[in-house]
Amino acid sequence: MTLTTEAPGATPAEAPSAIPSFQVTMRLRRFNPESDTEPRWENHTLTMHGTDRVLDALHKIKWEIDGSLTFRRSCAHGICGSDAMRINGRNRLACKTLLKDLPLKKPITVEPIKGLAVQKDLVVDMEPFYAAYKSIMPFLITTGNDPSRERRQSPADRERFDDTTKCILCAACTTSCPVYWSDGQYFGPQAIVGAHRFIFDSRDEGAEQRLEILNDREGVWRCRTTFNCTDACPRGIEVTKAIQEVKQALLFRRV
């Protein structure tokens, strides 16, 4: 199915007169469990503007052409991590991917992230992802008395694990990992990032327990260092490096 939609009259205040507009074909992977036995492709050709993002194109289709198009999004600027999808074969956030940065001569393909069961259209079942996240005990583990006010932490100690605290649980890394695609038991990169965030926190005393979990057959050793996860992370977290640091910590049992 190919539909062509013209932009309805934009309001004068927002008239993007200076912004170049162009035609773009969005090639969406769709699946409706109530009527489809297999996912199918659907094309929509739209007039979009140079500053629009993939999310804007999806909204345009949903609001003006097909109200049943289903995808997740919340904050729409890269903080909540709801709209990770596979765009032209790469995991990205739809709200942070500008159309003009993609090759517009060919259709832009948008598919659900891989390795998790598709529920409808671009929505996948996140339950296995959350289960992996929970399995590494993503909370501060301490012994002894609670501090009366606050624990001190030097700016240098705080900096040590800054990178992995930026995670937004979007699953872009985990669902870009070839090992995760073929082995549903593997924790996946996000869970290891989540563990790293606590293992290298100077206040945490649960490193041994977490390392033991990740030493499992389906733990860090399954990582084949393909760097897909690092490329996929919309927050720029050095995921593969974090995984390597966890491996090092396991080898030398020293954090």
Partner: protein, 601 residues
Amino acid sequence: MTDPSTIERHSYDVLVVGAGGAGLRAAIAAHDAGAKVAIICKSLLGKAHTVMAEGGAAAAMGNVYSEDNWRVHFRDTMRGGKMLNHWRMAQLHAQEAPDRIHELEDWGALFDRTPDGLISQRDFGGHRYARLAHVGDRTGLELIRTLQQRAVALGIDVYMECTVTKLFQEGGRITGAFGYWRESGRFIVFEAPTVVLATGGIGKSYKVTSNSWEYTGDGHALALEAGASLVNMEFVQFHPTGMVWPPSVKGILVTESVRGDGGVLRNSEGRRFMFDYIPEFFKSETADNEAEADRWYDDKTNNRRPPELLPRDEVARAINAEVKAGRGSPHGGVFLDIASRRSAEYIQRRLPSMYHQFKELADVDITAEPMEVGPTCHYVMGGVAVDPDTEESTVTGLYAAGEVAGGMHGANRLGGNSLSDLLVFGRRAGIAAAAAATAAPSERVSISDDDVTAAADAALAPFERQGGENPYSVQQDLQDIMHRLVGIIRRADEMQQALSELEQLKERSAQLSVEGHRQYNPGWHLALDLHNMLRVSECIAKAALERTESRGGHTRDDYPATEDDWGTVNLHCVLDDDAVSVRRETLPEMPDELRELFEEK
């Protein structure tokens, strides 16, 4: 017809609706108090609007300025709210916020630190001292993650992507809630003697907003329909600095930290125009020249605050006036300049998210050029009227905390007071609900099949109609009406116009139809959300029409002055025969020992 016996049912002591900061904190508190608790959330866990908060959580910990204490914070909050806040909420908030931050730290939250390793605190508008505990400009993300992790550690039940459409009552008490799973479209019934609403705000009723899609006023509408009253609904905060360009991201927030960290506002003539807009009320504490304002960043004791850090309502109105006078930026905002005032390294370290946001979405390097910014609908001060100590509404068993509750912020909220509000009142609501639920277990009432059937039929109504309008077009018209006629500057005739247009929208929304099936059907979800958005919009327009003065987040073109008589009046919205009616109530009187805090200087 839905057979009620086939519907999934669960029983809890405390049901928390919403999983942002307030909901998570309430659930943790209720769990710790021994209650059986569940959290229901519309989106996935950890995606709630709290995640977007950037600047920090205000708490008078005194880590940076030892002169700071709860009295100063209380005074700042009340003055920022134009004295219309419920004094007791403002007091509890200021007193308890430091403990709530320390507790978050104890649970593992990451904070930026002082050289001594203490939690660092940053400057924000309306706060006399540097007071916001923060981590870069992603404080909300860390706050929600820490609470989420705590909830995981405690094993609290979470129902994700589940929406509540109705509260059940029996004899004036809450007995539970009705909802649907977004994924399957199947219904679910919760039996619970207490419900804590923590559903956030209403921003999606406006065209230009910093709010995410969840903000459709669900809790406000649920409370109203259960018989509770909403207070201060005329006060909607337009954050002064949202992105104005490009159009696809118009409204997205530019954190106040940019100004707290040294950024200034300029008009098209390059003038720091905020010096022209210092109101009498804040004259004594605001610098009247650039030299003093610039010295303040390093020496707060001997200098007054820059006018860029006046409360948000003042700054938003000033920007609006500059643009109207023809001194705006090319895309209809003003310039926010930090590039000429701080080093590129400093900006990237202090404001990494802002740096990337502008680089990626607007192709602007904020370390080299100014940003273009303008007001964006950000927060509703109004909400469910609650008892300050327990957060219980006038309906027994119904509690509200966070943005959905009213009273705490009066006519205008100070930046940084939202995250601390979530923690302080989320905890209080959880404790009080747990105590009420576990005190009288024998009084549990089961929910009747008739009530369940009625709720199911109401939810399914959009499927029953054929050939009606698509809900997206009604939503767009609603956003346009609220933006145009009940926006930042208001007039009686325009608001009357808005109310008559809202009536038409109500009729159109009653005729909506949705296509397809119940499984993950976004059109259906929006049709149900629209009902709430229309209710809330009616409250805002009616209360705004009633208040014939200008104060805080409510500016009347036809009544520009702030009137003393109105300074002791709260407006309450209640549902009367399916229409919103507004009544006046006298503000509770502050005790003398607190009143004295306002008499210095």
